[in-house]
Amino acid sequence: MEFLYNFFVAPFLDIAGSPVFFVEVVLTGLLTGVMYSLVALGFVLIFKASRVFNYAQGIMVLFAALTLVGLMEHGAPVWLAVILTIVVMAALAVAVEGLMLRHLVNQSEIILFMATIGLAFFLQGFGELVWGSNVKALNIGIPDEPLEFHGVLLSSFDLIAALTGAVLVVALALFFQKTAIGRALRAVADDHQAALSVGIPLKTIWITVWSVAGVVALVTGIMWGAKSGVQFSLSLIALKALPVLILGGFTSVPGAIIGGLIIGVGENIAEIYWGPAIGGAIENWFAYMLAMVFLLFRPQGLFGERIIERV
């Protein structure tokens, strides 16, 4: 009885009792959601262009952040470190294409997926071998002060993170829609063979996509790293991004954004209002359950391409 009350009545009383706090919870959730969206974005880019479900995206975030911090510790200024890290991520893209993907063309999706898990193991060992495995603080001078807006408290850091995410998404959208490479990318995503036959170089496309995913990983790494330090657990946010992916659809950039926001808000509300009723620490699985319920109604996610099966 008490459990039912705690589960069905008390949370709504709390919400009605303090609407400002509820707004704060929603906004915090939205800002966390932006972070999830950023990770999911990296997945979507690679999946769209090469049908590779890149499990290593989370490790790429860690690797990019580690490289950035490592360079800064060696005395490089922020702008130089960022540029060098982008170069490193591009080099990684070239290596992945040349050493791994090229040899796995035409393999089934699960083989490619397992190969990216292998890549994740490699990158984890490599990153920590080069830069060490202790927790590092990442400070690139983003102010973190509480802001008050009509009685609602927010952190300026979260706002800047959200803005960065928005800018990144707009830039990616422009890149995909307006540039020649972007059009080629979409062609490859639609049909590998048709794209090859009209003379689009698959190799360049894959390198570009993995590099762009590397840049997205770097931005994500900066945001998460500045918030919670650069350490191994950073790579686990990949697991957070997976429910975002199935919610938004594997192939949709807007889906990744909106999916991330839904998961962020849902998770925060559930943890704060329903967490106490069922024992807390539910953020590990809540997103998955939410996504699974969505899937039962829309098997291709919110914005995924409609699955039309032909025989």
């Binding site: 796995l104 089934s108 699960i110 397992m114 193991f121 071998l129 899937l295 039962l296």
Partner: protein, 361 residues
């Protein structure tokens, strides 16, 4: 020269449909069993239990889990990342059963734990009727995160132990103590081995029978399978149930015969990935491959840990950990590039070569 089926005539249908229709294969299997049951225990008499405890027992248990996952992923084509969670269900079910009914035979406990896991697996298999591919894989991750959380939060599952861990009580089977701290490694090894042999045989028979063929049809093209009259609902659910049954028994053995005591964290996503690696490296859609893959993935880290000492150059422990990760990852990628069909395919190629040996063709 030695591996020829020439002159082996089959006069009955049952002889033609035997699991090992070629005489040399039967001898080989018999030899493997003799080695496993007689030679290994004799060699191990009077030595340390390291080989049992660190290599053989986890290898056999994970081979059972790999067979379970291979039934689901390799035969029925449903990708699952929740193996660890299903093993946890089996472990906790066995623990609850044996503490609630101490007189129940431990083998019966394992089987019942498998059945309970099958029921749970059935539940998490329901989404497979609507979704497939990676969407389904991520949905099974829901089980992977939800189930250990549940076992952590609800104290009933670990009998309100203050430490939050489950510790295996001592249980006997016939005259031998099978579980608990006093059980010898030899007995545990033989129990695990026997269970693996029996269930590998059962799995082999399931997958080459009617159900197995239906699974393979669904895996290869589900629409075509549906059109020729294979019913999706029962077949997919049976695949989830059978697979979870195997994983459940493997999970129960993992606690009862290997770890002795554990928390839900023992069944994390790393374990799920390890079992998936075994299935892929061993070969999708092959029972033998699951066992070979389990051997490969169990032995590789042990080899990598000990290789520097054996080769005679010592490196710092933390550096070595990083090198292990790098080498493990690259070996996986290299292996997938060289032989995407796994060890089972290599075994098949070796047999083909052996048939013609010493002639080139």
């Amino acid at each position: 020269m030695f591996y020829r089926e020439a002159g082996q005539f089959k006069t009955t249908y049952s002889a033609d449909q035997a699991i090992f229709p070629i005489r040399q294969d039967r001898w080989f299997i018999a030899a493997v069993l003799i080695v496993a049951y007689v030679v290994v225990p004799l060699l191990m008499r009077g030595r340390e239990d390291y080989l049992y405890q660190a290599v053989l027992i986890p290898f056999l248990i994970l081979a059972l889990a790999a067979i379970g996952l291979n039934i689901l992923t390799g035969y029925a084509g449903q990708l699952s990342l929740g193996t660890g969670a299903f093993m946890a269900v089996g472990a906790y079910a066995a623990y609850k059963l044996t503490t609630a009914f101490p007189d129940l035979n431990i083998i019966v406990v394992f089987l019942l734990a498998g059945l309970i896991t099958a029921a749970v697996g059935l539940m998490f298999g329901l989404p497979s009727l609507r979704i497939k591919g990676f969407y389904l894989a991520v949905a099974t991750l829901a089980a992977q995160f939800f189930i250990p959380w549940l076992f952590n939060k609800v104290a009933w599952f670990y009998n309100y132990a203050p430490s939050g861990t489950i510790t295996v009580p001592p249980r006997d089977f016939l005259a031998w103590q099978v579980t608990g701290p006093a059980a010898t490694a030899e007995v545990r090894y033989l129990v695990v081995l026997s269970i693996l042999v029996v269930f590998a045989l059962i799995a082999k028979n399931i997958v080459r029978g009617r159900i197995g063929r239906q699974w393979m049809a669904i895996r290869d093209m589900d629409i075509a399978a549906e059109i020729i009259g294979i019913r999706m609902l029962p077949n997919k659910l049976i695949a989830f149930a059978v697979s979870s049954f195997y994983c459940g028994i493997a999970g129960a053995l993992y606690i009862f015969c290997y770890l002795g005591s554990a928390e839900p964290e023992a069944f994390d996503i790393i374990l799920s990935f390890d079992v998936l690696f075994m299935v892929i490296i061993g070969g999708l859609g092959s029972i033998l491959g699951s066992i070979l893959g389990a051997g490969f993935i169990t032995l590789l880290p042990i080899f990598l840990t000990n290789a520097p000492q054996i080769l005679g150059f010592g490196i710092r422990a933390d550096l070595q950990k990083h090198f292990e990760f790098m080498i493990f990852g690259s070996l996986i990628v290299v292996f997938l590039i060289i032989e995407p069909n796994g060890l089972a395919r290599l075994w098949q190629i070796a047999k083909e070569k052996l048939r013609r040996w010493p002639f080139p063709y």
